[in-house]
């Protein structure tokens, strides 16, 4: 507990952002307000438990989850991901060659803002960039293969706190702000924003489904969903949520998806990576 507070404190102080002249975007202040909102609303939920989504909100569901985790349904995906990660391309290189530390134990650093290209790089995007740079076919962002790769990488980072950085660069702050805007903007014929469900109604029931809190919501990705009977990447989840509110999904890894992932991941800083995980 103390160690976690220390880690969080070092992180928060270490990323103190300078204020812009007008309409200051202050991720640090946003981060504090976001966290406080959830811890105040759910005082009995231990901070790290928020990453468990609906299970942190509903005792009955939690018991179901315990039995599911006896034979974790995402294990096959992790194994498949590990194999695929080590499998050489036609040119002899592997996916590990594209990443720091051969891709082991680095998931908590994604997404990051690439100052060279001026855009947010997510893990899914980085994987496809690696494939394309090595003459290999990129993966569909909602595919089982992509989920297997991110499942493996998340698995190697399990327990490590999310460590998203927003560099001292107006473009990075703009991307962060764009992600924040996407998160709170109503869309689709049903007029829901992400916040409608995950900020205003965590623990609420939509028919029989229990809504996850937005705090730590990406820490658990990718997920094995029982309703899907297979794995879901972050892209898949965003796209499904869009269609559920009757909005046409954006193409995979659209800049808005990457920006909202950047925003939400930053909000989950300090909380442990728990992915890959099971969901109802």
């Amino acid at each position: 507990m103390l160690r976690q507070i220390f880690v969080a404190a070092v992180f928060v102080l270490g990323t103190a952002q300078p204020l812009l002249a007008d309409n200051a975007v202050d991720p640090n202040a946003d981060f504090k307000a976001f966290r406080e909102y959830f811890t105040k609303r759910f005082p009995k939920v231990p901070l790290n438990d928020f990453v468990n989504g609906p299970y942190s909100m509903d005792e009955g569901l939690r018991n179901q989850w315990k039995s599911i985790e006896e034979f974790p349904p995402y294990e096959f995906a992790v194994e498949h991901g590990k194999e695929r990660f080590a499998k050489p391309f036609k040119n002899g290189k592997t996916l590990g060659d594209c990443f720091p530390n051969k891709g082991i134990g680095i998931r908590q650093n994604y997404p990051y803002f690439d100052t060279k290209s001026g855009e947010v790089i997510t893990l899914e995007l980085a994987l496809n960039q690696c494939l394309e740079a090595n003459g290999e076919k990129p993966l569909d962002y909602s595919s089982q293969d992509m989920a297997a790769l991110t499942a493996y990488m998340a698995f190697t980072s399990r327990g490590k706190p999310f460590d998203i950085k927003i560099p001292n660069d107006p473009r990075a702050l703009a991307a962060y702000r764009s992600g924040e805007q996407y998160f709170y903007t109503r869309r689709g014929q049903l007029n829901f924003s992400c916040a409608s469900c995950h900020v205003q109604n965590p623990g609420g029931h939509i028919r029989t489904e229990v809504l996850a809190p937005a705090l730590g919501i990406l820490n658990a990705m990718p997920i094995y969903r029982s309703t899907w009977e297979n794995m879901g990447t972050i892209t898949r989840r965003f796209r499904t949520c869009n269609s559920q509110v009757r909005g046409v999904p954006l193409p995979g890894q659209d800049v808005l998806y990457r920006n909202v992932e950047y925003y939400l991941s930053y909000m989950g800083n300090g909380l442990p990576i728990s992915g890959p995980s099971a969901r109802p």
Partner: protein, 116 residues
């Protein structure tokens, strides 16, 4: 058959039609419930507990005691049409503004709601 006789019968038929229209047609409540429960229409069970509806959500209050809580049907019509006017942060979809339900459908649903 004289012209006058035909006219008289026509007038009677018209009168009966008008009288029939003034009464609530049989099955109106069933229509309102059908619309309310239909996922492509009211989709009300997603967020509201409603008598006779399976597996309801709970993002909104249970729809019970409606005649007492909403004696003026205009209020219900307003809420269903566009609740954001009253509460900008509501999660209730604006059924009329976003063209999910038309005026007639909203009226029929309100008829049903007032029986709850």
């Amino acid at each position: 058959m004289t012209g006058g006789g035909r006219i008289a019968r026509g007038a009677m038929a018209l009168a009966m039609l008008l009288a029939g229209a003034a009464l609530t047609p049989p099955g109106a409540q069933a229509d309102g419930q059908k619309l309310a429960f239909d996922r492509a229409k009211g989709n009300c069970l997603t967020c509201h507990e409603i008598k006779g509806g399976p597996a309801p959500g709970n993002l909104g209050p249970p729809l019970a005691d409606m005649k007492a809580r909403f004696p003026d049907r205009k209020e219900l019509i307003a809420i269903i049409s566009d609740e954001t006017k009253r509460n900008p942060l509501t999660v209730m979809p604006p059924f009329k503004r976003n063209l999910i339900l038309n005026d007639k459908e909203i009226e029929v649903i309100v008829d049903f709601l007032q029986t709850l």
